[in-house]
Assembly symmetry: C2
Homo-oligomer: 296 residues x 2
């Protein structure tokens, strides 16, 4: 059966796909839409919101912090980074279909001067923000959409940052504790949206997800590593703004109010091309995170 | 700050949780509900539907095949297993937030006698099945629910097996190809529901997911491994029914028509306990897969 050779190389065309090899289709693919976007539909991510984490094995992951919704938590995390608190962090937990978590070893004190006790920044008054709806429904929230190139969920009164794959949150103890930002986690499985409005989400990993998601799962309860030797040490964790300008990684994010973003969402909801037979006609918020690209 | 010690050990209480350590709560946790279920609310999984895959590193993953919806594909996969076709399979693709794919090397011929050319088993006439609705909405389908302990999505006329984390599908070439079952994939990220009704889903990995999801991501296009040395060889792939009875792994799945399953879904939609502040009031279908446990 000759088919098999093709099956290996072409099966399951994904999002960012092999458009160049595929026959013409009446619909543009999501990646074709992005290729045809204009430079003014993207904006550069502020280097003061990029936390560059380098692990002891040399791999990196980069957190894009949201500095305009969970403002106190984000400021704390920046202060912790600037005092090089996270340089001695370790990955302590990898739970399959759930989260990877990192922080300093148990019992490490942080200087009181470095962070401010944060409030529960779980949700935010919607009217403060320019909300652009995603026109498809959500299983969890009354509405979903975008604010300033961040995916958000809302109930008409408040909005919040949903627990999608790659979103970063602040570990906390039992309620009413809200955490401090000294321990963070990222979602690595099907989005656990039941955590929404119960924990502060502060950012999104925009590069290097695979350096966390492919880690060995912890054998302890909740995926914690049981042996110290399994924990992955950090080499450094620093804001891009603290690096010399020519050493900073640079990223752009699409403007969610742009025409190309509308076309991108439409292309994701209504897949065309030679692979798809029945477009879904919808896309959920966690499959709609605004695209990010490296800037030159 | 003493808090930190607790944050490490208790942050982010997950599904199957530390209920024993937690204070009493008015709501039962999902795991408490399952602990209090009765034996007659579970049924043993037929060993003829359990495909036991052992990799060259000794790890295993077990696929529970659905033999009553995609019947031709499932029969093909069983025939391939019984002819030991998959014993020489390799994991050839690991794409972050998407799929792990395995199959035989390009160009390997399969005997025509082993499999029957399958139809497109993408969706099925709903009225043939006893459908039990999940009472919460879905971002993709008009309705979601359960048939015989399988999560399904539907449009009122047809039902199908949705692409949730851990669901297994049949790799295929461009339409109208439907694949043969000789190459399979499993979802390892946020559920790519846009694949629903475009590919045949045939089963669900019920044990050993972490032996696939934690693999090194492929550096090639679509996550294919570029070097043969990176591919992970199988040692064997055999149906549990082909093993001597005392060597078979045994699993039970909850009856989705049982009271305990209703209570379990309710507990997942309305999380109680000392951690949660604001229950979601809903749960999506991919966070509602029927629980499975090892049988004695």
């Amino acid at each position: 059966m000759k088919l098999f050779a093709f099956t290996i190389s072409l099966a399951l065309i994904p999002l960012t796909s092999i458009a160049a090899e595929a026959p013409k289709s009446p619909n543009k693919s999501p990646s074709e839409v992005l290729e045809q976007s204009t430079p003014n539909e993207w904006h550069t991510i502020n280097p003061d919101n990029l936390l560059i984490n380098t692990l002891s094995d040399g791999t990196q992951f980069i957190v894009y912090l949201n500095d305009f919704m969970p403002q106190v938590h984000t400021a704390n995390i920046k202060n912790l980074a600037n005092s090089r608190w996270f340089d001695k962090a370790k990955i302590v937990r990898v739970q399959d279909n759930y989260v990877v978590q990192w922080g300093r070893e148990e019992g490490t004190e942080i200087p009181n001067s470095v962070i401010k006790q944060p409030p529960a920044e779980y949700e935010f008054t919607a009217q403060k923000y320019r909300f652009k709806p995603l026109k498809y429904r959500d299983a969890y929230a009354a509405q979903v959409g975008f604010v300033n190139s961040w995916a958000v969920a809302g109930d008409g009164k408040n909005i919040w940052l949903p627990h999608c794959y790659s979103m970063v949150g602040v570990g906390r103890d039992m309620a009413p504790d809200v955490g401090t930002g000294q321990e963070l986690y990222v979602v690595i499985g099907h989005s656990p949206r039941h955590l929404d409005r119960n924990i502060t989400t502060v950012g999104r990993i925009i590069d290097g997800m695979e350096n966390l998601s492919a880690r060995k799962r912890g054998s302890g309860q909740m995926g914690f590593y049981e042996n110290d030797a399994e924990k992955i040490a950090f080499k450094s964790s620093i804001l891009a703004s603290q690096l010399p300008e020519n050493e900073r990684p640079k990223y752009e994010i699409i403007d969610t109010n742009s025409k190309s973003f509308d076309a991108y969402i439409n292309a994701r909801a209504n897949r065309g091309g030679p692979f798809f037979i029945k477009p879904a006609g919808a896309v959920d918020i966690c499959n709609s995170l605004p695209p990010i690209r490296k800037a030159k």
